[in-house]
Amino acid sequence: MRLDHGELRSLLPHRYPMLLLDRVDSVEPGVSLEAVKAVTGCEPCYRGIGEGQAPDRYAYPASLLIESFGQGAAVLWLLSRGPGTTGLPMFTAARDCVLLRPVYPGDVIRHRVRLEQVVHGAAFAAGSSWVGTDQVAEFGSMMAVVRPADAIAERKR
């Protein structure tokens, strides 16, 4: 199964600038998922950086990389649940996460997510992130719990 960007938006409540996935290339519900996030120089995290900075100033923030992987885990969990289940995943803990090399504008990140355990309204995922053939991060354990959708307030315009 493949999900384009529109389908991702119908699954995840996140929106600009916090929707940090572009596409899902493959999903095996209950087991694993492979998702793509392209990093560009237009990202809001690079706004306001002064001229003439060292290249490492443009390293993609670790917090956003972890969140992006977590959104992949959320999609996998949402697609693994039985019909009629409601509620949204809320990211609660990350353990044994290792960043192996920086990610820069122009890099396309591939998250490989495995669903490890779903129990007591909580889900645990693990996996790795890659740019080309380079592994950029390892995720030992990411935990999320389910919360009622109406408890996560929608912002009305």
Binding site: T92, A93, R95, E116, Q117, V119, H120, G121, A122, F124, M143, V145
Partner: protein, 84 residues
């Protein structure tokens, strides 16, 4: 090491990792909430890790009882059939 000591050491390690403590800091009878500021999410994480490690199912209703390492051991022993 007796079987009980072995189980207590393993459970102490799980609790310490989730509560971000050193294993020797986790006393047998100290209350997770009062002594270590644990919350319900940490409690669920401890429960989930125990279930995964020992391949045992523990009803969520038991969470209220699992407030110290000793209490966790008692609950897990009951559901895993340990003769500790």
């Amino acid at each position: 090491m007796s079987e009980r000591d072995q189980h207590m050491a393993e459970l102490r390690e799980i609790v310490a990792e989730v509560l971000e403590l050193e294993p020797e800091e986790v006393a047998d009878t100290a209350d997770f909430v009062e002594e270590y500021e644990a919350d319900s999410l940490r409690a669920i994480e401890i429960l989930a890790r125990i279930e995964k490690k020992y391949r045992v199912e523990i009803p969520q209703a038991e969470l209220n009882e699992m407030r110290s390492l000793k209490a966790v051991h008692e609950v897990v022993a009951r559901h895993a059939g340990w003769q500790d």
